[in-house]
Amino acid sequence: MKHRLQSLGISLKVLFLSLFLIVMVFPLYWITITSLKPSDEIFSIPLQYWPAHITFDNFINIFNISNFHIYIMNSLIVSLTASLVVLMIAVLSAYVLARYHFKGNKQIMYAFFLTQMIPAFIGFAPLYIMMSHFGLLNKLYSLMIVYTAGLIPFCTIMLRGFFQRIPSSLEEAAMIDGCSRLSALLRVILPVMLPGIAATFIFAFVQNWNELFLSIMFIDQESSKTIPVAINGFITKFNIDWGPMSAGAVLSVIPTIIIFAFCQKMIVGGLTQGAEKG
């Protein structure tokens, strides 16, 4: 009896896990398959669950009807720059917040946590006005600035968790050997923290790569569009041309999926550890 129950449990487990796998993978499969169909096949019934003719027309098309290569470059420039800058700033603030007792330490942490809870878009209209005053609308700088600022709190919280796991005897020893505070941080601590820093960088990059509303608000000019702005432009009031749309969606997802495939363990570990400490 017990044996039978056990094998029933195992088959239920396998059943649930397989069903779930299908549900999770299917949307990505479906948009990819759509992007590989010729356009008459996309809109014809019965639906083809595997394209009768595989074609890359939609991908070629998207570079012809739009400046998709420019959008990709812009997205890369903005995401990489903002992630690097945020990392430099957050490493310094996280280190100090993790290691030193000083007046206001707790308050700064509270303020940073608070930014994670407030609805960010309350500030969007004022940000738009600010950017227009600075003359930065339609410039990539506007996005780099707001993305950097927006990610500082979370990256600081995350990195602080990593710093707290490293014994302070490490830099104390370096400082006795004559290192300054800064060079102890840069030469001794950072190398030990590399996995945490990489996880934080990847997190920031993915967030920046995916950001939508601020880029729609700030950018309207062809030469400055990022991928999300361009894809948003494919949605017209009443219709979507699903051929180029599916190709654009697949292209925009490729970098983050590749990053995820290679660094899954590190990202998941980094996020959950950070959360536990946080």
Binding site: M24, V96, T115, F121, P126, G150, N210, I216
Partner: protein, 303 residues
């Protein structure tokens, strides 16, 4: 805070170091997060529309009165509750089951996790676009599948029929959020020491006893923290709805977050948008206080 470096150099050099390390972060966050945030709250009490920027003035609570008279706002308010709590319950329950099933190592577990957690790397906007395509009323694959299985006889306008639209965007949101709970809860489950189960087993506990007397109490802090954060996050998350329906048809899928984005981006009424934002903050603050008191534990949010 055990690892604090003891002050060895003169205090002034140490406080200089602290100051300069924090300066960039505080300046940036202050200028581009807190300043616009408070400015936005201020706008809630002003007549502030993009169409007439020459006539900006204080109008007290008029924006609040105006939006409370709009049926669309009231619908967004009630939709927000369904959106948050229905999404949360399904995300949590399915994510928890998944975490339990993934706790014991099996062959290929790492690869399996990769395939089900990848949605984390995608934007809510894109996920909304993909679901909009799958739920299409004429040639959507979900209609096709349901017809094939025989569950429906006619195609359903999932996103064009107000009867179905809210449920449809919630389904997409559930799909998106399961991975978050599975990851968080799995990490917590793996931190439970094995001997707790062993001694429970010696005492004759069965699977259900172990679940309710060992597993759940042990990971309670994680459950509290992750559900608290998730509610706030879902409440503030307009991306999927924006991509799938943009609040339509006839406002049937607006939540407060999308209602507010709509006011800013298409309505150009920063005053009313600010008023909606202030109401969101009040609701969030009330919820957080209530939740933390009800669970009587600062543990989850302790830092």
């Amino acid at each position: 805070m055990k690892n604090t470096v003891k002050a060895r150099k003169p205090v002034s050099s140490q406080s200089k170091f602290i100051f300069f390390c924090l300066l960039p972060a505080i300046l940036m966050v202050g200028m581009f997060t807190f300043y616009p945030f408070f400015r936005g709250i201020g706008m809630a009490f002003q007549n502030y529309t993009l169409f007439d920027l020459t006539d900006i003035h204080f109008i007290g609570l008029d924006n609040f009165k105006t939006i409370f008279e709009q049926p669309q706002f009231l619908q967004a308010l009630s939709n927000s509750f369904y959106w948050v709590f229905v999404s949360l319950i399904f995300q949590f329950v399915i994510g928890f089951i998944l975490a339990l099933l993934l706790k014991k190592p099996f062959k290929g577990r790492g690869v399996y996790q990769g395939f089900i957690f990848y949605s984390w790397a995608m934007s809510g906007f894109l996920i909304g676009i993909i679901w909009r395509w799958m739920l299409n009323g004429q040639i959507g694959v979900i209609n096709d599948l349901l017809l094939k299985v025989g569950l429906i006889e006619e195609r359903i306008g999932f996103l064009s029929d107000p009867k179905w639209s809210l449920a449809s965007v919630i389904v997409a949101n559930v799909w998106y959020g399961i991975a978050f709970f599975a990851i968080m809860l799995l990490a917590a489950l793996q931190s439970i020491p094995d001997d707790l189960y062993e001694s429970a087993g010696i005492d004759g506990a069965n699977w259900f006893h172990k679940l309710f007397y060992v597993t759940i109490p042990y990971i309670m802090p994680t459950i509290i923290a992750s559900t608290l954060l998730r509610v706030i996050w879902i409440f503030n998350f307009p991306d999927i709805i924006y991509a799938m329906t943009n609040g339509g048809p006839a406002g049937s899928t607006h939540i407060l977050a999308t209602y507010m984005m709509d006011k800013i981006m298409f309505g150009g009424d920063y005053g009313q948008a600010g008023a909606a934002g202030v109401i969101m903050i009040i609701l969030l603050a009330m919820y957080t206080i209530f939740y933390l008191t009800a669970t009587k534990s600062g543990k989850g949010a302790d830092f």
